[in-house]
Amino acid sequence: MGSSNYQPTNKAVKWFEDRLPILGLMHSTLGAGYLAPRNLNYWWNFGSLAGFMLVVQIITGVILVMHYTPHVDMAFRAVEHIMRDVNYGWLIRYTHSNGASMFFVVVYIHILRGMYFGSYKSPREVLWFLGLVIYLLMMATGFMGYVLPWGQMSFWGATVITNLFGAFDFYEGMGESILHLLWGGFAVDNPTLQRFFSLHYLLPFVIVGVVILHIWALHLPGSNNPLGIDAKGPGDKIPFHPYYTAKDLFGLSFFIVILAIFIFYMPNIMGHPDNYIEANPMVTPPHIVPEWYYLPFYTILKAVPDKLFGVIAMFASILIFFVLPWLDGSKIRSAKFRPTTAFFFWLFLLNTLYLGYLGTKLPDEIMIDMAGGIDALTMGRISSIFYFAYFIVIVPLVSRMESTKPVPISIAQSVLDANKKG
């Protein structure tokens, strides 16, 4: 977002541009003025997809608020009013609820891409931090949004998650005071719903702000690329527009097809059926599960026998991403040239997916039918240990000790080499 070389030819545009150089800003951020590495693959589409989903969520969300009532007696009915009576209300609500899930899918892939290709490494640490802040804000927003329909899972999810903060019980009554503060009462109730509604509306705009910082931080060093080497010469880079705008639009269009399949043909598959039962503080559903995007962390929480340390472990499992740039001591960014790192990365991914799967299981469910049966709790503990070991042991050691493959001298050279071969 630095200085721009944008030169409007139209006089009126130039007049405006001299007074507010916003077109130049766009030009140098998302237009032809931004030079991006020429070798970005389709994994680099997910950043713009995440931006698109943020806009979709804000537009549909603002519309839903026009018809929703944040009150325990009316919220559930208000959502059904949207689903049944409001023109296209069902479409807007299903887009918002499935959009939330797809937003997380996109952001998870975006984060994993950053991990695999070393996008968190110097000089992009702050860019990585800002991304993690966006992710944390998304988690908070998603959680509070899930409470708003005021179904059974809304209520009991809110109860369980807020109770986590009661673990910080360092002196008599401290945990309870924190909970009363969060709830605005003695349990999840109308004040809780109203504050969650207020914050669920606010946080997306905070996310927009951090996204702007995220893009700003991106434009100083420029995008990383699959080779992980710095783009230096003029042959290494191409203008963002038209090359990456065309590529992003193609990716976006394909992604919308996937999104549409969910919205129109399986709109409730990402949700929980119990949320079509109105919240009832007297009856807990037999099996409470959070939204799918929190499941790995939920398993880590359940794996620790102590309440306080369970909560700490759960928060640590997310916050540990902040120190990843220093845990990784390799001089090479991309896992393309670090076969051992790549191997452990995929193992980490599988393990995290398995943690998510375990999140849906009751602790005593038998997962592996051997040695008298290994239950979900034990497997959760093993997986949680591996999760942390990946960060604390595997990444620091492997990144410093592994033998790497030769890295091409420049992006342009690698393109020429590839063309010679193919």
């Binding site: 049944r84 023109n87 209300g89 807007i92």
Partner: protein, 177 residues
């Protein structure tokens, strides 16, 4: 040689332009069709539209009384007029102080039932019953006097009280809206 190259290039240009323009057009159609649901959601919803017409049982309104009901968020006055009131209303048909001249016969399909939207045509207050110079309706906000036919006779209001669309389903039931 140059000509061949030129032809190829030109063909390439036209084909490329067509592809870009066509894709842009399809994309624009798509974007435009997304806009409609986002706008239409602000129109009255199905439950609101369902209340757009109401049926009123007239048998419960005694002679000389006004029933007030809420219709589309506004009060409706249904006046069961006495013979004297009907006579007075018709007698005033040509009165010189009519600001918005209208015959009583045009305002009441059946003379004994006067059905009007109870909103002053000046600035939207609800006129009071059996008040004012004509002992009919009087708007307290800025002093508009209406007669027993709901016609404006004195005060700042520019038009007579509005008569909504209605139809008698039978002798005792009227459908408003």
């Amino acid at each position: 040689m140059t000509t061949k190259d030129q032809v190829e290039q030109e063909e390439g240009v036209t084909r490329r332009d067509f592809l870009y323009v066509a894709t842009g057009a399809v994309g624009a159609v798509g974007a435009a069709s997304v806009v409609w649901p986002l706008v239409d959601q602000m129109n009255p919803s199905a439950d609101v539209l369902a209340l757009a017409s109401v049926e009123v049982d007239l048998s419960a309104i005694p002679l000389g009384q006004t029933l007030k009901i809420l219709w589309r968020g506004k009060p409706i006055f249904i006046r069961h007029r006495t013979a004297a009131e009907i006579e007075a209303a018709i007698a005033d048909n040509g009165a010189i102080d009519l600001i918005d001249p209208e015959d009583d016969q045009a305002r009441a399909e059946r003379p004994e039932w006067l059905i009007m939207v109870g909103v002053c045509t000046h600035l939207g207050c609800v006129p009071l019953d059996q008040r004012g110079d004509f002992n009919a309706w009087f708007c307290p906000c800025h002093g508009s006097h209406y007669d027993i036919s709901g016609r404006i006779r004195k005060g700042p209001a520019p038009r007579n009280l509005e008569v909504p669309k209605y139809a008698f389903l039978n002798d005792t039931t009227v459908k408003i809206g």
